[in-house]
Amino acid sequence: MKSANAACTPRGVERPWPVLDKMSSYQLDHLQYLETESIHIMREVAAEFERPTILFSGGKDSICLLRLAEKAFRPSDIPMPFLNVDTGHHFPELNEFRDRRAAELGGKLIVRKVEDAIASGIAVPTPGEISRNRLQIPTLLAAIDEFQFDCAIGGARRDEEKARAKERFFSFRDSFGQWDPRNQRPEIWNVYNARVNPGENMRVFPLSNWTEMDIWEYIKREKLEVPAIYFSHKRPGGAPRWSVAAGDGYRSAEGKRGSARDGGPRPHHRRHHQHRSRRKPGYHGRRYHRRDRGRARNRAWFACG
């Protein structure tokens, strides 16, 4: 990569790093810290809401979310159902994984299909619209209404895009399901304000502070099953590439480069332009044009893995 100015050359990262001394036994490493924060948030949801649900797509973030739910609530049952919005563009392997995982966890799985929402007029596609990303929103809102959910836990992270950097753990939606920046509540310490009036609800994002790297590391540490389809795409160089299930079936939005060292993902080596041409028709990736920012922001919480 070319550098525009010598002063801006990344420095210091190649120099030999002192190996961290063994941590004291009363210290958490980064994944343990993120984990305890997320568990705390999940338990707050269980305790403060009447009818919460967990959005489960089968994607990598929601796979972590379910493990955190197990950690938060076992040995009890996970005290909320799983909700999946099926775009109809999902690969069958993903749906199989979703159903099996929900059954393993002993949870109730609710699936609502974009197709059905279109048929009943809840979701209205604009002519020529192939992607079902946008149509997930009315489908989801209708499901929230149908089951009177007052809270939906999603797997969105703040590092996904700049527009999300200010998202709250507890993100308030008015009775129209809308996100209004002026209505978001300051979050101080770990004291979360979960109060909503009837009809209003909350989106809760326990993974807010996780980076994509943390997600992969956690999957590895917890030995979590990831649907085989994640590994089925090969990049031109031959190394496996992760693809991401989020809404619009499988997207190749995130590259994964196998590392000789530990096989872990190296997100900062992502090169979007290399596989831009490989996108499926109708792909609306994570990158969006500036003027779409508002829309993307609305959509952002939705990409729950």
Partner: protein, 437 residues
């Protein structure tokens, strides 16, 4: 390369508009190579176009600037970067005077505050304000990054002058424990990641070096055990018969450490029992410490519910419905005496009424002004609150999690205030409570 544990350090940046905050964060993100490459490419493209060849590091965090110009909600943005030694969560808090509430929010979870000072301007009101808030919020580590040193010809005297000015008022703030001063140029990267050739007179660490090595293990207080009960864990018709009598109390340890077999007390009931088992999904453990999330089983089958607190017998917390606290007001409707709010403290939400406004802090002089009529948005003051049920608490200066609360406006459900409790006048008295058993 061996795999070694990586800790998280959380810090917030504060400074006045144009002190170079965005440039500094951009520099840290850029130099730690953790940018998505497309962002870097976009930057380089714009650098080519705008000429000069210098990447505008502030663009990496642009959102806030645009908002500032448009005058819409300014807020706290969180950013993430990592080095092989540590992971960092940065709370990027805009510096404008009226955004005290944002700094309080960003600082509330921070191990460290990085306060930017423009070397040309020296100490200004914002510097005092940020220092005051850092002290009030009990941030364990504070760094004053004296920025734009290139614009004062890297003069050591200028750096010392600013340091002396700051050190002159720090004692008034009391509790700041670990304070460092670093001369930097965020724009050119001097002393940000690599030591600068321009500051032979400075022997200390670079900013990133300090972020990576500052000792944060003891930021959590391990001296007295507290666990607010969050959720009662009681399996319904478990298939595993050994779980039929399982009754666990789930929560996050807010202070200290507990071991299996330790005597503990459940408050507010004041009943003593012992810890039978510490259960986690990954297996039973012998001890738990802050801030782990665990599920505790007690020896006796007591009626314990959310909002109760399990505490160690040494160093008991306070328990009272009449409380004194510092408060930072966060809403455009001012805080008024006599008004009722919901108060959420740890895992308990209770009705509360503000019985008095004792003072409002004047941040220029660090002098409290007694008996203000109200506290407007972004003011900080001392108040008295009466709660419908007693809180089990520590002074905020002793422990953030058991010493803090939020006030919630009834009706709108807005979070309107951030409260920091003054220490209890006396600990809860267990001998009196013994009769209850």
């Amino acid at each position: 390369m061996s795999v070694h544990p990586v800790e998280i350090l959380r810090f917030n940046t504060c400074g006045s508009v144009d002190d170079g905050k965005s440039t500094l964060i951009g520099r840290l993100l850029y130099d730690s190579k953790n940018l998505m490459e497309d962002q870097i490419e976009a930057l380089e493209r714009s650098a080519d176009i705008t000429g000069g060849g210098q990447i505008n590091l502030a663009n990496l965090t642009d959102g806030l600037r645009a908002e500032r110009e448009q005058g819409i909600t300014i807020d706290v943005a969180y950013r993430y970067f990592a080095t092989p030694r540590r992971k960092f969560i940065v709370a990027d808090t805009p510096g404008h005077v009226q955004y005290t509430r944002n700094m309080v929010t960003g600082a509330s979870t921070a191990n460290m505050s990085v306060v930017l000072v423009d070397a040309r301007l020296g100490v200004i009101e914002q510097t005092r304000r940020h220092s005051y808030i850092a002290a009030l919020l009990g941030i364990p580590h504070v760094v004053f990054a004296v920025n734009k040193m290139d614009l004062v010809d890297w003069r050591e005297e200028r750096f010392r002058e600013i340091r002396d000015d700051i050190e002159a008022f720090l004692p008034k703030l009391g509790v700041l424990k670990d304070v460092k001063f670093i001369p930097i140029s965020a724009l050119n990267g001097d002393n940000v990641v690599e030591p600068s050739p321009h500051t032979p007179w400075y022997q200390g660490p670079t900013l990133l070096g300090h972020l990576e090595t500052v000792h944060i293990a003891s930021d959590w207080d391990l001296t007295a055990f507290r666990m607010p009960v969050q959720w009662v864990n009681r399996p319904n018709n478990p298939k595993d018969h050994s779980l039929h009598d399982f009754r666990g109390l789930s929560g996050q340890v807010a202070r200290g450490l507990v071991k299996t077999g330790d005597p503990v007390m459940v408050l507010p009931a004041g009943i003593k029992t012992t810890v039978k088992e510490i259960w986690t999904y990954d297996g039973v453990v012998q001890e738990a410490f802050a801030p782990q999330s665990v599920t505790i089983r007690l020896q006796d089958d007591l009626d314990v519910s959310r909002g109760d607190m399990i505490v160690g017998l040494e160093n008991l917390p306070g328990m009272s419905s009449d409380l004194r606290a510092h408060i930072c007001w966060m809403n455009s409707r001012p805080l008024q005496k006599g008004k009722k709010y919901f108060l959420k403290h740890a895992t308990q939400t209770v009705q509360a009424v503000v019985t008095n406004l004792d003072n409002r802090m004047n941040i220029q002089t660090f002098e409290p002004e007694p008996e203000p009529a109200e506290l407007a948005m972004n003011s900080i003051g001392e108040i008295r609150v009466r709660t419908a049920k007693p809180l089990i608490y520590d002074g905020y200066a002793t422990n953030r999690l058991t010493g803090s609360f939020i006030l919630i406006e009834q009706g709108s459900n807005q979070t309107v205030g951030a409260g920091m409790l003054l220490p209890p006048t006396e600990p809860v008295r267990p001998e009196y409570q013994d009769f209850a058993i």
